[in-house]
Symmetry: C2
Subunit: 423 residues, 2 copies
């Protein structure tokens, strides 16, 4: 470790320790104190619109200079409407039920010892994310509402925007009962800065990486702090032999084209060979109309003009574009085996009119969300009715699928006796 | 990586892949098939008593040759009663409610999409543990009951016993509808063998280390597979100014002496100075009667004869013996701050007749289990009424405190539509 690295570690540790101290105080704040703080944050962000937009312009201009594509610049860009959106979403979070203090279970043991399991905050959340500045606001809001402190490490391309947003949040919190140290921001653009967070087990209770596969992989590989993995979605749609063609095509087009760059978009289409023979023309028309580019297996290429041959990478990776991999199968098992091999356990769909086939698919496929005759695009906290989400978990521990406020909490057993000892 | 290391990795990966295939089948077995298998396992273990005891003798003799202490040899030793105990505990697990398939929530969205959240098995559990051969039986039983496959890596000192138990289990499973590959055992005594498991993210869903702090630390540092941390308990008892002396001393003696080597035993005593002044003689008598050795801070040493001065290690480490660290404080905050600094978030107790003080302690202290006027020894799945446990989680994600069958499961969202797309 060089002297500079040591300097970075000390700098980040100082922030993590401040967050931990704030978390200790947050264990004892009331629901009203938290909600008032969220409204104050919303108000201050709107009142500092000009500062935020000015700083954001520095990021978008730097991004254009670096030759980032327009889709990337769009994710980075703020405008008046988006900043009002920040305020609106903070107010919505304030209106959600407070998860902290909920009695999860209560019982009395035969010996008279009274037991209660109560929901409490996790403590300190480490959030590591990429371009979108809205994550800075959303993550801080959800953390505070659930009684947690948060250490934010945003992408360097949004650093001016994030810095401005955090300084406004700090100013706002200074006028509330929430310690302003509850929101910490790591401004260093050094990539090794994020890595320092990964091993601060003494101070950080959970790491949540949000971004591309490479970022998530890096966190998982280097972290000793527990990680909530989010986001990589290699989602499949299986069109069964008994699928209704209209439903199948509508769900395919929605899954692939509605927002191709998000994790619940479709990446691979698996088609029963008989359905394909019978519905070839309608499928080709739909794909062409929406500009979808096919990478197919041997059989698919025979049916679909202009299809390129698919290789291992096509089955494995997220395109996040209008490309799709297509595999033709002769039964449900083949479809499930392909998903077992290549899926990322995010969202998987089947279209079929046969309920037994759908049931078998639901039972065989291991993923956070399974769909029968519906689009994978519904895997989203808002769409499923959970309110705001901090990410979509693709792991099996703690939380699976869209994560809301409850997933930012843990529990405590509280036991009350009268001199009880174990004999 | 040397050629030998590669050989070990390939050998272990083969077992992990077998477990994963078995896990796929286990998703679809019935409650009755699992229970029948558990009864069959119980029966076969009892019928192969002679083999198990003969093999166990090899381990205990080797342990004596190596100069292990009697407490260690005792943990390693099996006898007829203990093997009958294996069978009994497997039957008890069979009688527990089956967690798999439970509907955790169900709702219909405004658009008519039907949603259900259902409990499902985790998949493949990697269990890494030390001397006790009973963990082999208990972990396999809990894994099967919750529909999971398991890869067992036991300590080398129990290798003959574990190998015998697993071979009996394999033979037993061959006569059931549960694939015998659901239980995998890594016989290699090479310490690097366990490490290979740590990074098999493709095949293993969760690692559960059970053993001393060094083992757990090693897993946490090297694993990319998610870990359920168990066990290290630096547990504190705070005797408040308003503590009843009889309750305080009885809880102290129970916590320290009932089973000093377990994780819910007391390691540090924090005493309010006024209480100490008033109850000095009774405390000294109790400590002496039970052979408890005190490592005290400056004030404690002044009051307690024969006490040695405590250093940083005394506050931080588990003694797992009749030693105890003693700190004298002048208020509750000092006690809570000490626990915040040195506690492992396992079990923490307060003795006081003042309910408000107890409430403040429960709110301020961050741990899996908090006790008011009761012994920390109750932090145990059996004692709290959960049935068998796979370990006691000291982390905050997924499970906190004693982990039972539910904690070996995850969930799936199942969504049923009629051509639903997101617009």
């Amino acid at each position: 470790m060089t002297a500079i690295d040591k300097g970075i570690r000390a700098h980040i540790e100082e922030k993590a320790i401040k967050a931990k101290k704030a978390a200790k105080r947050l264990r004892q704040v009331t629901k009203n104190e938290k909600n008032e703080a969220l409204y104050t944050l919303a108000d201050h962000l709107e009142r500092n619109m000009r500062l935020i937009l000015t700083e954001n312009k520095k990021d978008t201009e730097a991004g254009r200079d670096k030759g980032y594509d327009e889709a990337y610049i769009d994710r980075l860009s703020l405008n008046e409407e988006r900043v009002h959106g920040f305020a609106k979403s903070l107010k919505e979070v304030a209106e959600l039920d407070d998860p902290v203090g909920e009695t999860l279970s209560a019982w009395t043991l035969d010996n008279g010892l009274k037991a209660e399991k109560v929901r409490v905050p996790l403590g300190v959340i480490g959030m590591i994310y990429e371009a979108r500045p809205n994550v800075t606001v959303d993550a801080a809001g959800l953390a505070l509402k659930s009684g947690n402190a948060i250490v934010l490490k945003g992408g360097s391309s949004a650093r001016h925007s994030n810095q401005a947003i955090v300084s406004v949040m700090h100013e706002a919190l200074a006028g509330t009962n929430i310690p302003h140290d509850a929101v910490q921001f790591i401004g260093s653009t050094d990539r090794s800065a994020a890595k320092e967070l990964f091993t601060m087990k003494e101070h950080i209770d959970v790491l949540i990486p949000r971004g591309g596969g490479a970022l998530i992989q890096e966190v998982v590989e280097h972290a000793t702090v527990p990680v909530l993995e989010t986001g990589v979605g290699n989602c499949h749609l299986y069109i069964d032999r008994e699928a209704d063609a209209e439903k199948a095509l509508s769900i395919l087009i929605n899954g692939k084209t509605d927002r191709p760059a998000v994790c619940n978009a479709l990446e691979t289409l698996i088609i029963h060979e008989t359905w394909l023979e019978e519905n070839k023309n309608a499928l080709i028309t739909a794909l062409n109309e929406h500009g979808i580019r096919v990478h197919g297996d041997e059989k698919a290429i025979r049916f679909i003009p202009d299809a390129k041959p698919a290789d291992e990478a096509d089955w494995r990776n997220e395109y996040l574009s209008l490309d799709i991999a297509v595999k033709v199968v002769s039964n449900l098992n083949e479809a499930c085996d392909h998903i077992e091999t290549y899926g990322t356990k995010h969202s998987e769909a089947i279209v079929t009119e046969n309920k037994e086939t759908a049931k078998a698919f639901f039972s065989a496929v291991d993923a956070a969300a399974l769909y029968h005759n519906a689009s994978t695009r519904f895997t989203d906290g808002g769409a499923l009715g959970f309110g705001a989400e901090i990410g979509i978990s693709t792991q099996k521990l703690h939380a699976r699928g869209p994560m809301g406020l409850n997933d930012l909490t843990t529990s405590k057993y509280m036991l009350t006796g009268n001199g009880h000892i174990r004999i």
